[in-house]
Assembly symmetry: C2
Homo-oligomer: 155 residues x 2
């Protein structure tokens, strides 16, 4: 088994190719960790949520960590860890363009709204939390068996 570090370009490529991540946030020194779906755009990951523990904690402390992985067969995997900042896109004057951007990106994904509680409509729904994670630091590892090329990724 060989484990190599992924560079920023490789890390961002995996973040941009994925739609499912795990997201960790913190309150009073205690972590909370949930799966989230997202839509990538540049260095931003756009997401949607109902109001709940995750959003409340991220409002209190916007420092988050996002992890994405891919498994290619039993013995080859990639994992990217991104540190970033939570930014809410409130339903207020001045945020309309950003909210519509998030909606536009997210609504392209089949089932992206699940387990949300509404049907897809042309306009962004109100009373839902739209947010983005601004990725600040990334690191990643790529593991593959000795003697293979590791899926063609440069070593």
């Amino acid at each position: 088994m060989i484990v190599t570090n992924m560079d920023r370009t490789q890390c961002m490529a995996l973040l941009r190719a994925s739609r499912l991540a795990r997201l960790a946030c913190v309150k009073d020194g205690r972590p909370y960790l949930v799966p989230v779906t997202y839509a990538p755009d540049g260095d931003n990951l756009y997401g949607f949520s109902l109001l709940g523990q995750k959003v409340e904690w991220m409002r209190g402390n916007p420092q988050v960590c996002v992890q994405v992985d891919s498994f290619e067969g039993e013995r080859e995997w990639r994992s990217v860890v991104a540190h970033g900042r939570y930014e809410e896109l409130p339903d207020l004057v001045g945020w309309k363009v950003e909210r519509e951007r998030a909606w536009s990106l997210l609504s392209k994904e089949a089932h992206w709204w699940e387990p949300g509680a509404f049907k897809p409509v042309p306009e962004p729904p109100t009373h839902r939390i739209f947010y983005r994670i601004v990725v600040e630091e990334v690191s990643g590892r790529h593991a593959f068996p000795e003697g293979t090329a590791g899926g063609g990724v440069p070593r």
Copy 2:
């Protein structure tokens, strides 16, 4: 899409059936999140690690969060979030039984030592970190399409 809460028994069943989790820890209000493999035993999740950021952070703050999920088809999933406490099993007199317990559980899993840097041997290797996460609180959600029985899990 129907989303139901899982009770403690259902949550522990998923934790005990899984071998791959995501684990979040905290330092200075900042989360860190990585995938880990583990071996379950009662309310404990046994793991192994080389010394690194994860272990250093958990030594400083043993409060951790572990998340496990399973996807049964495109539209049915379960996710369990467990809050727990990191306990290291040091290579010291007085910890031999616990370390050998961890080793015994972990060595049953094919490839469990990957991406470790050693081959399986009959005795626990030294200079490796064995630990357990003591699960204290669990919660879980089970999502499935309307009109299905949700994989036979009681609703």
